[in-house]
């Protein structure tokens, strides 16, 4: 089932999923109320749940859905930075997180993974997961994260690190290197993962110490 208050998004998602033979969309809902009634009626296996619903926060809905069917699998959908929501969602029992602009493949993969009882997180959520991981100690995620830890920086990353150490903001670095701000952000979050730190300053300190070595 797809739950989203934006009609176009919901319909779009339905269309996308319709192409996959393994998935059958049993219903849609625009708000918490509808969602509950539909879930009761249609009894889906997996629910794609938008965090931003008009009448209720998606996370609170997780509780209610679990009441109805404890076996139900829930994947949270978000168009915004999900950082704050991750821990809470996992606490409540959500199985996965997806950004709304993910590809169809990712979405289908997520549904299948979750249906099998695993958790799924969108690729671009690496950095957000670290704090969640620390509190949850889920091995799978840890592997995902710690895979990056201790790795040496790529050339690009080193370039960026130089600028960061000089105190430039991401926007400025992007302008300097002629790339997108978003790209720089991505690199920076990877860098932080590699250093195993959660703040830019610590990264700079590690970088300068590393330099001295």
């Amino acid at each position: 089932m797809v739950v989203d208050d934006h009609v176009m998004v919901a319909e779009g998602t339905v269309l996308l999923l319709a192409t996959d033979p393994g998935i059958a969309v049993v219903g849609t809902a625009k708000n918490g109320q509808e969602c509950i009634s539909e879930v009761k009626a249609k009894k889906p296996d997996v629910v794609l749940l938008d965090i931003n619903l008009p009448d209720i926060c998606g996370i609170d809905l997780v509780d209610k859905l679990k009441e109805i069917n404890p076996e139900i699998k829930i994947i949270m959908l978000t168009g915004q930075n999900p950082q704050e929501y991750i821990t809470v969602s996992l606490d409540k029992g959500a199985q996965g997180f997806l950004l709304k602009d993910c590809s169809k493949n990712e979405m289908t993969q997520a549904i299948f993974t979750v249906n099998q009882g695993n958790v799924y997180f969108s690729q671009s959520m690496g950095i957000f997961l670290r704090s969640a991981v620390i509190s949850k100690q889920e091995n799978a995620e840890r592997e995902q994260i710690e895979g990056l830890l201790g790795r040496t920086l790529t050339g690009r990353e080193q370039e960026i690190m130089n600028f960061v150490a000089k105190g430039l903001h991401n926007k400025e670095i992007a302008a300097q290197l002629g790339i997108k701000t978003r790209t720089v952000d991505f690199h920076v979050s990877n860098i932080l993962l590699k250093f195993g730190v959660s703040s830019r300053l610590e990264a700079v300190l590690s970088w300068t110490q590393g330099d001295k070595k």
Binding site: Q80, D101, H169, R200, L201
Partner: protein, 734 residues
Amino acid sequence: MTNTDPYGEGYKLGITAGDRVISIDGISTEQFPSVKRWSEVEGANYIELESSTGTKKELILPKPGITETLSEELPMSLLGLSFWLVGFITWVKRPFLVQARSLYWLNWAVGMAIFLASASSRDFILARELEAFFFSLVPSLLVNFISVFPKVRKNTLNTLSIKLLSCVTGLVLISSLLKVVGLLWITNELRSLMLIGAIVGSLIALWNLIELILLPDHKPEKNQAIIVLIGLAVGLLPFAIFTAIPIVVNEIPVLNPRISALFVASVPIIWGYVIVNKYLPDGKRLLELMLIYSFAGLIAAGFLSYLLVVLRIRNSLNLGVYLLMLLIAMLMFLLLNLIELAVHRITGKVVFTTQQEFRKKVDELNESLASINEEKMVSQIVNELDLEGVLLIAEDDQGWYLQTAAGRFLEDLKEQELLESVYFKAKNRVETAEFMPADCPAEVFVKFHSESFLCGIFLGHRCSHVKFQNWELPELTALCNQVAQRVKASHDISRLSRDINGMAISILETQQKSHGLRNINKSLFRTLEEGKKALAREIHDGPLQLGLDVSRRLKQLSEDLAVHPEKNDTLLTMIDLIEDLNYELRSVCTSLRPSSLNDLGLISAVEAMCQQIMLKELLVISLEVQSVARDRRFTEECELGAYRFLQEGLNNVIKHSGASRVEVGIELFEGNLGLLIRDSGKGFDVTKIDDWVVSGTHFGIIGMRERIKGLGGDFSIQSKLNQGVTLQARIPIK
């Protein structure tokens, strides 16, 4: 016969000085015991004389009848009695005063002496001796009295003289007794001794009096001494001037000694009065009065005597005539004054009442000046005192000026101007009240000056065209002063009430403004928040959703077109673009109004904010949360206010402090949410904050303060240059 009394019968019958007395009443002169002792005889009926030329004479002096004797002797006896009586009354009235007692004994002695003087001529047994004894007693008692009057002043002089005079008395007593027994025969020496004693006593008494009179004015003794002196003068001077002096100059005494002796009675009366009464009339003024009358009498007497000579009533201008005239003049003065006083008293109540009427008018006016309105007051004066007009000018040193007129001056402006110019000229003169010159339309000008207030009142002429008198001026001045004080009071009161009103109004305005400003602030913040919320929602609902959708479709398209790779790069570019768009839109939404604040609560939102900052800036944030559960929710207003406070504070740290570390604290205590942001960066001058309020710069911090206060909380900034900044806020939880 050494002396003759011109009034005596003997003189009338032909005895002259120089005659030798052969026998009295048939008895040889020498046989008389009184002749032996005192060389005096009194009460003779039949005298044999031998004149200096040798002729023998016989005189039969008629024995005077009872009434005659009585009329002759009574005055002196009465005098003696009165002395004693006055002394007795004084003692009764003031039994505890030592002065009263002393006066009593003095008066007793004098009274006895006088009484015995008349008795001694009757040749009573021991009368002369007793008379002598009492006569010598008087001086010592006199000095004794003076030494205790008005205050006990027994200094060496006084005590010594008292002892001396007592010795004299003792001597006299002893010698008199011896005389009686027949052992001693000195007479003249005794007499001289008594006289010397009397003179010494008088001189010492006089000396004491003079000492008292020379005291400074404020001592009561001075006044008492002056009145005593007046008593002495009134008692003794008539005798001295009108009886003694003529005798000394061998003239006929102007005043019968018996009558002038009666004046002496005034001495004990006045002295007794001084002792009995504590509060006395003004001695100096009485003295002045007496001197004036005496001078007037002297001059009038001289004039009258001259007149007499000119009119040939008397032949020559000699002392006797003059003194007679003096006596007549003084008596006339006295009589006239008494008559005038009596008539004034009687008719003053009924017929001639101008003085009283004027005083009554002024009193009534004083009472009825009830209003504080200047115009009413001046017109009241015009009416009550029956004046042509009144002009009042008042001013103070702050530029206030008042001019009020009534009566004639109200209509005639020229006269007002004239009086104004007089006022300005008179301002600097010293006099407070003066009569105006004749050409001035006003008659009296009274000036009142107090602190910085100056008031001048012109009183016009009386309607009856009767001029004001000098004695009326004090009352007019007092009246005008009262009016001026009223004017001053009303002026001060109106000024004060104006000031108070002004202050009350401005306080009210300030309060209203402040209240209004608070409300404006509240609305502004609310509007701001709603704006942000709306914007975030709009972006989220509109462009972001579109962007997400497009992104997804494009990705789909890309996968589909994997078969035809040549179309893919445009597509990939577009995908990139859209991803950027979405990314930026997301950032904008989050920074405007993070949805996690509503969904998950303050703590989660703050955590997310801190993590976000640490990614973007070279800053390490140490967040400490105490006594608050992570999912604890507060009111939206409160969470929003706290979030914005921390957001603004951290932004400031990033922008201004240059620090690399900051502490953020959230704590719940006693129903309040406490927030803290502390860094160790550049810091700033805290005193400049109020300048920011006025100039409207740095609205972030000021706005934060207003917002927190609007929530009913407190806000504080502590900072020193180069020692970092500590921001603290407390928001009450409802």
